[in-house]
């Protein structure tokens, strides 16, 4: 049995590698600069424009090799500071992570108690439902102008945007988890004359914990998606700003580097919460 499992894992890994190699290979071929086809231009002109423009074409995509070089350059020197607007990619990621964790933490502090209330009281649930239904589907970035205008601080505004986007999944999942705690368990608690607070913390919370954690896992994923866009909008610091700054310079290699790193960090965040979820899961 384990041999089969191993061989399945091994074969999957092999297939992954093969897909990766195929993508990179195709990309390398597709991104080869075209042979000089256009008319020969004046050398005075050629030295003032990019290599591609001198032959009459648009500048091309960088090849995977170019990108490898760029990634290596960033990974070997991630924490440099060359002025306010030019900091290493490690520092930018740290800024973004800080914002996400702060916004997410505040959202958790607000969403879990409120979700509890909504889940336990059908009255509150019905009263708040219209607000939640209307606000939930709003793109978090749509809040940005309003936040900048009212909060008058761009750093707090981006944290607010993270807060507002990560609050809904946690709120809804908490309410759902709390509302669907098995009746029998609550009845047992009531028979044993357990106080309401004790019921909440000793019965409902552990019972709803896996659902709450699932909400958190969804939230952090969304928060990490949104921070990049928010930072591109507001600028200053963060991985989103890094992408924007390199977009200014049309530096695709740097942008691809950032995309890969954003993916890796997102994966780590997700896996971290998956691990936490496992800790609170119980067998039915």
């Amino acid at each position: 049995m384990t041999a089969l499992k191993n061989s399945l894992g091994l074969r999957a890994a092999l297939l992954s590698l093969l897909i990766f190699a195929a993508i990179v290979g195709l990309w390398q071929i597709a991104a080869q600069p075209p042979a000089a086809s256009g008319p020969a231009v004046d050398p005075e002109y050629a030295k003032r424009v990019g290599a591609a423009a001198a032959t009459g074409s648009k500048s091309a995509m960088p090849t995977p090799a170019d990108i490898g070089v760029t990634i290596w350059k960033h990974l070997t020197d991630p924490f440099y500071v060359r002025g306010t607007n030019d900091k290493g990619i490690g520092i930018q990621l740290a800024y973004s992570l800080g914002r996400v964790l702060l916004g997410f933490g505040l959202a958790a502090l607000a969403a879990v108690p409120l979700g509890f209330l909504i889940g336990m009281s059908p009255l509150v649930y019905r009263a708040l439902d219209p607000f939640i239904q209307i606000l939930k589907p709003v793109s978090p970035l749509a809040w940005m102008p309003l936040a900048l205008y009212t909060i008058k601080d761009s750093a707090i505004s981006s944290i607010f945007v993270i807060f507002i986007c990560s609050v809904w999944p946690m709120l809804i999942n908490t309410a759902f988890g709390v509302a669907s705690v098995r009746r029998e368990w609550l009845n047992v608690a009531r028979t044993l004359e357990v106080g309401p607070f004790r019921t909440a913390f000793k019965v409902i919370l552990p019972a709803a914990a896996p659902t709450i954690m699932t909400g958190m896992r969804i939230s952090i994923g969304i928060a990490w998606l949104v921070i990049v866009a928010a930072e591109m909008l507001v600028g200053g610091t963060g991985i989103g700003y890094f992408v924007w700054n390199e977009w200014n310079n049309l530096s695709i290699a740097n942008i691809v580097t950032a995309i890969l790193l954003i993916g890796v960090v997102g994966l780590l965040l997700d896996q971290g919460l998956a691990w936490l979820t496992k800790l609170v899961t119980y067998p039915e």
Binding site: V41, D42, E44, Y45, K47, R48, V49, G50, A52, A53, G56, S57, K58, S59, R82, G83, T84, N85, D86, P145, L148, Y149, K152, D153, S154, M232, L233, V234, G235, G236, Y241, W244, N245, E246, W247, N248, N249, L250
Partner: protein, 454 residues
């Protein structure tokens, strides 16, 4: 300008009609005076003159003394009892600023050259300021961050302080513009596929990008196509796109062209995406573009910091206006911390010897120039265009708003203090595409256009 206190024969007591402290006969000579080229020399001369006047407040005595010993000996004699070098240094720094750590926001375009270069080239630190220049993503963001006081001063488009003060597109907040950054320096760039459509009459249905609704770019593009019979609101589409995103959009075929700031015109050429259809100086030579702005509140609460900042900017602008310094400036502002562009792109813009995107190398040393003087006539022209295109609905006193926002008097005083010659604020002729503008008759000017919204 100062009359020359070192000249014992200078005429006294006759004031010129321009209000300057010199004889009418000397007006032309003095206003055209060649200012000593080197920076230090200029300060030195201003300070020495002040000291000499302080030591001999009576003109007659000063002349007698100078006649007897000569200017050089006089200064040597004075410096033996008066710490002249210390005074020169103190003057160069001005009164102690109330706030030394300042944040100045900028958009990464060459228009902001003086604001940006003042950081790596030390113009701020020379005034005793510790300025952080912060790159910002777009005009709406720089406006909101400035209104939120995250920035002490900021780079804006020259129509923006007018719009903010008038409350168009935001709450009215008194905003001031003590210095223009650059004149000229913009261009219309078209996608390479349109290289045979050089006549604007063929542009029906084109999608254009401009940096912001309240920008010279918007007004100039509208003016240009309207002069060629196209209605900018009906026959073409104009979108607000942050400058850095223009080339990417042109490349993606999302727009057909843009009237935008450099470096993005030249960058489109560099990447083989577009060509330069025309420079905006061909529409209006000497038009203003970007500006250095502060809130009225900051200027009144921190007068010394404001003066020091303005001095640094005027100083940097004067330095940038000299052709011979342009290559050095291109090098200073190219790194990722500032514009994040290839140096050759910036050099072509600043020196005016550039590839046009169609295979030719063109030369125009005035492609971009730097001149800090905030002519009120500029403001009035801008407001006529706001009126023309329906951004400005109310009837306003053009001249009053202009003088409240474009602080020509402040700038003139500062320039005098620095030993520079400010221009005569009443003398500015504006000619846009061959049509003269009379700032005394703004309403008639708006009425004179066939295509307009009001």
């Amino acid at each position: 300008m100062f009359k020359d206190p070192f000249d014992p024969k200078a005429l006294l007591g006759r004031r010129c009609g321009c209000g300057g402290d010199h004889a009418a006969a000397d007006h032309d000579r003095l206003t055209a005076t060649t200012v000593p080229a080197a920076e230090e020399q200029r300060w030195t001369r201003v300070v020495d003159a002040a000291v000499l006047r302080a030591v001999f407040p009576v003109d007659a005595q000063r002349r007698l003394f100078l006649k007897k010993v000569g200017a050089a000996t006089a200064m040597a004699a004075i410096s033996s009892v008066f710490p002249l070098s210390a005074a020169r240094e103190a003057f160069a720094q001005g009164g102690a600023p109330e706030k030394k750590d300042l944040k100045v926001g900028f958009i990464p375009i060459t228009c902001a050259t003086p604001i940006i270069m003042a950081h790596p080239m030390g113009f701020y630190s020379k005034q005793g300021l510790n300025v952080e220049v912060v790159k910002t993503a777009g005009w709406a963001v720089i406006r909101d961050k400035s209104l939120a006081k995250e920035y002490d001063a900021s780079h804006m488009l020259s129509p923006m302080p007018l719009a903010i003060s008038l409350g168009i597109g935001s709450n009215p907040v008194p905003w001031t513009m003590p210095a223009i950054e650059n004149i000229n320096g913009q261009a219309i760039t078209l996608a390479v596929k349109h290289k045979d459509k050089r006549d604007p009459k063929d542009w029906k249905g084109f999608r254009f990008a401009v940096p912001f609704d309240f920008s010279m770019h918007n007004y100039l593009l509208r003016y240009y196509v309207a002069e060629h019979g196209l209605d900018p609101d009906k026959d073409i589409q104009i979108r607000s796109v942050p400058p850095p995103e223009m080339v990417a959009n042109l490349r993606a075929d999302n727009i057909d062209g843009f009237l935008g700031p450099d470096p993005f015109n030249q960058r489109a050429v560099f990447d083989g995406v577009g060509f330069i259809h025309l420079l905006t100086k061909e529409l209006w030579d000497g038009h203003p573009c970007c500006a250095f702005t502060v809130s009225k509140e900051f200027a009144t609460q921190n007068p010394n910091a404001y003066r020091a900042l303005l001095k640094a900017i005027i100083d940097a602008t004067a330095y940038a206006s000299k052709q011979e310094n342009r290559k050095e400036i291109a090098k200073a502002i190219a790194p990722a911390n500032y514009l994040n562009q290839p140096e050759t792109v910036l050099e072509q813009i600043l020196t005016g010897t550039y590839a046009d995107g169609l295979g030719a190398v063109k030369k125009d040393p005035n492609r971009i120039d730097f001149d800090p003087f905030p002519w009120n006539q500029f403001a009035i022209w801008i407001m006529t265009q706001m009126k023309r295109w329906g951004q400005l609905k109310a009837d306003i006193d053009y001249a009053k708003v202009a003088s409240e926002v474009y602080l020509a008097t402040d700038t003139a005083n500062m320039m005098k203090e620095m030993g520079l010659t400010p221009p005569d604020p009443s003398k500015k002729t504006i000619v846009v595409m061959g049509k003269a503008f009379d700032p005394a008759k703004p309403n008639e000017y708006v009425e004179s256009f066939a295509i307009k919204r009001s």
